[in-house]
Amino acid sequence: MAPRREERISLAAPVAPPTLRHHVTPILEVSKETPKIKAFVLSAPAIARTATPGQFMMVWIPGVDEIPMSIAAVEPDEGHVEFAAALVGEATRHLHKTKRGDLLGLRGPLGKGFELPISEGKPPPQSLLVVAGGCGAPPILFATDSALHGDWEVDVVLGATTESELLYRRRFNCLTHTLVLTTDDGTAGTQGTAVQGAEVLLKQRRAAGAEGYAACFACGPEPMLKGLVKLAKKYELPLQVSLERYMKCGVGICGHCIIDIKGSRVCTEGPVFPASQLYNTDFGKSTLDATGRRQRL
């Protein structure tokens, strides 16, 4: 029997989209990437299939809290997604205690990621500069991988406080020839900041008379991003940065992550913004805490 009409009616009550409810699934793999950062691999086929670099997920640690995490890698065929979390406070402490087989909930993909400029007429390869500081490496790893698959040339700057905190160093190494490392203490690569590392590359390129980078993607602490924005101006570099703000909903309804008077939401219009859109925003100036109190950065 199963008449056609009955089926049509059922379309009037679809389940909530994957951005509004969690896909709860066991952890497939946990790996300690640095003394402070662990990476997690889970099966989430819908997310793995549709996510783009720079997008994030809300990660539910059942019984604890839900926190935003950038997507570090996807394997669409196997349906796997990976994220990497630094140990920061209560939620990440519980997250770091989980083991293979424990359940997490993933909601996403959320937000707007990095966008490779369309090569007008020019054939690839074009060059992309990516800059990752500290636990800003995850979305940059995804972006690097994705750009390389699109036949872009990618130069990577990876910075951290110290050698052991250089997140995904090995993975970046496998992906690209130009990997500039910087550490605050000089234990690896150049001593200095990722911004300084980026400037070295920009200078080299200028000196060699090569064309500028077609784009630059960056993620890391806001002071670093602020430095990069200045640098980008100086070098006329089209920069996109991924921001972090306290997120309560992740889908644009609560308003907690808004950064300007127009109501730009980091969770929805961001987390990735062209640097040009960050004038007249709270970028580099202030952020809201869990209560909504404004804190100077």
Partner: protein, 321 residues
């Protein structure tokens, strides 16, 4: 500044409505708790075409709210939330309101508290910011005993009296009622608010509910229980407005619950509302939902040959119920 807030339909399409002495350019209002944590959030809705914007509910002290998850979608467009009324405390929030007022938005301040004294203190501070009305939230279904209190006539009456006395007559006081299917109790509490001096009744807040995750085998929200909003609750909200409208209540009613389009708003008007607030619709349809609805109303007016929305209000009463 003034120019920025003008859009064609806002002043020209005759969609005005009056809530007592307060004239709104159109009947769509941003609901409390949605976007309005900062001036920017309020402005997003205002620029999206809202006739007014209600702030996040603020209390005396800063509150972080409940742990996450704080929202979860349920089948058919419903949303459950348990934000837990996070707010920076009224003092830290004043600059946000002032900034939005300065930009030209018609801002309504929302107040939350435990007892009359708290409402009074918060209201007094908000009164000086340029807000056009105060909305007293006596109805959050997932924080402490707020929910049960909102249906107690004595509590509602006390809160309204305390606030009215403190802020005088200049700023009208609206009371935001709990979401409930117990309409007789709702009406009684609203009548108590009116008697105590409220200028309008806002109905309804979210409905107390629960959603579970069957894989995690626990509640989907960090708080456990939550408040149901979105299209799922519209027939309950419309009924609430209708029951208020056909009661002895005489002050204006503002309808809230599940509005996604112009048709939904007209349902509320026919049931007796003079304006509506929109929350989940901002998520489901985007923050230009207010403008979209206004355009649909222009069309509806044309189709039905009416000049203003006024004749629609309570239009249901002319028919049988």
């Amino acid at each position: 500044m003034e120019l920025m807030t003008t859009s064609s339909y806002r002043y020209e399409e005759n969609l005005q409505t009056k809530i007592g002495s307060l004239q709104l350019e159109n009947p769509t209002i941003l609901a409390s708790g949605v976007l309005g944590v900062t001036a920017g959030g309020l402005m997003r809705a205002w620029q999206g075409g809202a006739g007014a914007v209600v702030t996040k509910s603020v209390g005396i002290k800063a509150q972080p709210g409940h742990p996450g998850p704080r929202i979860v979608g349920v089948r058919g467009g419903g949303l459950l939330n348990a934000m837990g009324l996070p707010n920076p405390g009224v003092k830290k929030y004043l600059p946000e309101i002032k900034a939005a007022v300065k930009e030209g938005a018609c801002v309504i301040g929302s107040v939350i508290g435990n007892r009359s004294a708290q409402y009074r203190k918060v209201a007094t501070q908000l009164a000086g910011t340029g807000i056009k009305a105060l909305e007293l939230n006596v109805s959050c279904p997932h924080v402490g005993t707020f929910y049960a209190q909102g249906l107690k006539p004595s509590h509602v009456s006390a809160v309204v009296k305390a606030v009215s006395k403190a802020i005088g007559e200049e700023i009208p006081v609206w009371v935001k009622m709990p979401g409930t299917t117990d309409y007789p109790r709702l009406v009684k509490a609203a009548l108590a608010a009116e008697a105590a001096g409220a200028a309008a009744i806002v109905a309804i807040n979210t409905l107390p509910a629960l959603a579970l995750d069957v894989e995690a085998q626990r509640p989907s929200l960090g708080r456990g229980i939550g408040g149901l909003s979105g299209p799922a609750i519209k027939p309950i909200a419309v009924r609430a407005v209708w029951e208020l409208y056909r009661s002895e209540l005489r002050i204006p009613i503002i309808g809230v619950g599940g509005i996604l389009d112009g048709t939904d708003v007209i349902e509320f008007l026919l049931a007796g509302a003079r304006a509506v607030e929109i929350g989940t619709g901002v998520l489901l349809e985007g923050s230009t939902i207010f403008r979209q609805i206004c355009l649909q109303h222009v069309q509806y007016k044309q189709r039905h040959g009416i000049e203003t929305l006024e004749p629609l209000v309570g239009g249901l009463k002319k028919n049988k119920d």
